[in-house]
């Protein structure tokens, strides 16, 4: 019994309440009231997923047919009946060289997902073998004061995901370190607020692409002597600058709108400035600061793809761009796989922030 309470609490806390109902279904403890909840929270979402995949399948099929018909007609017009028949047979046989290039079906995407995983296992094994092979040599090189030989093969899809996460967290951390302190200062001082207001209003709506170019101009010059690849630095700084505005504005607002009662308490108790900020102002604006941070993280993840693409920094954005340029038979399916991975990771990051927010916030209400 105790275990189920804990599970229920944990899942509710994470905003995944339907798990506990699902568990009740399997343990046979389903009440009539529970059934309604189950229907709404589990069956309806599952049904809508099935419907979505079905519509996608039909849509992909009809797009496939349009493209195939067009190809055959074009062959007939340009090269005559024989070529058209040959193409028709080729398409029907499923030969990869002549397949229409359009929206992939759910099955193709699933296949690509599996092939990407296989690819990851192959690359991982390759990498492990390489490290093992060079271990002795590297030890010697390091002893001799030379740089170790590193694996320079192409990164797998999973490696790209982790690289993207690294970039987004570095950018998020940068945004946090700039926006939170600055927001506190702006919120506390009306003078600073009017000094920074134009700055915030003008730079907040600037597109990620432009931020990237700006950061590129500056970082390129600053790192002019370095031979290191600066693409990671440029992309995480751009991500940070793009995404920090929500936190900045929310923090400033939270700090400047602290309940008057709390300020009066601070005055009556004669708290010092430092004490007042850390004991009264910050705790009371934490919920708003975290709302800002939550938006910042989701914006960071969203702009990351575009910025990686521009910066040629390894990650999911570059993966998508390379697959698009590649134009191989399964490239479109791989792009869709990346799309789902991006979406799911974005969702998980949002949940992560929500969990942290619930944890630090004194006001334990559901903030969904």
């Amino acid at each position: 019994m105790k275990a189920s309470i804990t599970l229920g609490k944990v899942t509710n806390f994470l905003g995944l309440g339907f798990f506990s109902t699902l568990k009740n279904l399997f343990t046979g403890k389903l009440e009539k009231e529970d059934f309604k909840v189950l229907l709404r929270k589990t069956i309806v979402p599952l049904a809508s997923i099935v419907l979505f995949i079905g519509l996608w399948h039909l849509g992909a099929k009809s797009l496939y047919n349009i493209e195939a018909k067009f190809k055959i007609e074009k062959a007939l017009k340009d090269q005559g009946q024989t070529a058209a028949d040959a193409l028709k047979a080729c398409i029907a046989s499923g030969e990869s060289t002549c397949q229409p290039n359009t929206l992939p079906s759910p099955a193709q995407v699933w296949e690509s997902y599996k092939s990407l995983l296989r690819d990851h296992h192959i690359i991982s094994a390759d990498k492990a073998a390489f490290i093992e092979k060079t271990a002795v040599l590297n030890a010697k090189r390091i002893a001799a004061g030379k740089a170790a030989i590193t694996y320079t093969g192409r990164p797998s899809f999973v490696d790209q995901i982790f690289r993207s996460l690294q970039t987004v967290f570095a950018g998020f951390l940068l945004a946090l370190l700039i926006a939170v302190p600055l927001g506190i200062f702006i919120g506390l001082s009306p003078t600073l607020k009017s000094a920074f207001n134009w700055f915030i209003q003008i730079f907040k709506p600037v597109s990620p692409v432009v931020w990237y170019l700006l950061v590129f101009m500056i970082v390129k010059t600053l790192l002019i002597d370095s031979n290191e690849d600066s693409s990671f630095t440029i992309s995480f700084i751009s991500v940070g600058f793009c995404s920090m505005w929500a936190t900045l504005v929310n923090t400033a607002m939270g700090v400047s709108t602290v309940d008057k009662d709390y300020i009066n308490v601070a005055k009556v108790l004669k708290l010092g400035t430092f004490q007042k900020i850390f004991k009264v102002v910050l705790p009371s604006s934490l919920p708003l600061i975290f709302t800002g941070l939550k938006i910042t993280l989701s914006v960071a993840w969203m702009v990351l793809i575009a910025i990686e693409l521009l910066a040629q920094s390894p990650g999911l954005g570059l993966f998508v761009w390379e697959e698009f340029q590649n134009g191989a038979n399964d490239s479109n399916a791989k792009i869709i796989v990346a799309m789902f991975v991006i979406g799911i990771i974005g969702f998980l990051l949002d949940r992560l922030m929500l969990t942290i927010q619930n944890w630090v916030s004194f006001d334990k209400t559901d903030a969904i």
């Binding site: 709390y262 009066n264 005055k267 009556v268 108790l269 004669k270 004991k279 705790p283 009371s284 934490l286």
Partner: protein, 285 residues
Amino acid sequence: MAYLELNNICKTYGQGANEMEVLSNINLKIEEGEFVAIVGFTGSGKTTLVNLINGLLAPTSGAVLFKGAPVVDTSHERGVIFQNYSLLPWLTVEQNVLMAVKEAFPEKNKKELKTIVADYVEMVSLTPAMHKRPKELSGGMRQRVAVARALAMKPEMIIMDEPLGALDALTRGNLQDEILNIWGKDKRTALLITNDVDEGIYMADRIIPLRPGPNATLGPEFKIDLERPRDKTAMNDNANFKKTRNAIIEYLMDIGNERKTEAKEAYILPDLVPKDFVNQFKFGN
């Protein structure tokens, strides 16, 4: 010289055409060790008066003198119990009180401070709730924490701004006794702002009605010559009590009637029917 003195206090809010005088010509003298109650209608400027005395606001003209020196800022010598408890929701009972004690006695070490906190929390009988947050407490318990917080700083004067206004009658009665008990122990000077005449009579040595604002000013004072400790049930049969009570209520009623006849302007209110928002926007759960 009186302990606390208010000389010709005026307080206005706003400027120019929007200027509104909330308090005008307030004169008040409170002697050391006295328990004074100010009784008034809601919206008559009671909270403004409290904030002038505790130093959160400055008067537009006139002077607030505390022990002969003008009040320019808040001070640990004057403890305040706010109307709406004003506990910090992210701190536990202990932390809320500790924060105040730490400020009042910066020279004491952590152990001494904790002992003081424990003593005062015990005094308002909240030791079992020591590590709870305000949200987990009832209204009466929260106000007790606020009382403990104000008293733990050992102020020379306690200012209470409708401290029991939001509580039910039973809790109210209990807390009145508790506050009187604590006050009786070391006879600090106390100023109670309330809208309950009975509460004022039960607790105070003197009652002063506040004529409602704008331009609120203090009415004639009523002395309460009842022996302490007072007994609520016995008090109801006391001729002296009845006389004072009737006199104060009559005075306040007269002001009320005066105000009604003054307000001749008729307001046309829009004919609005509240929408059923709650049901209209009900989502899941």
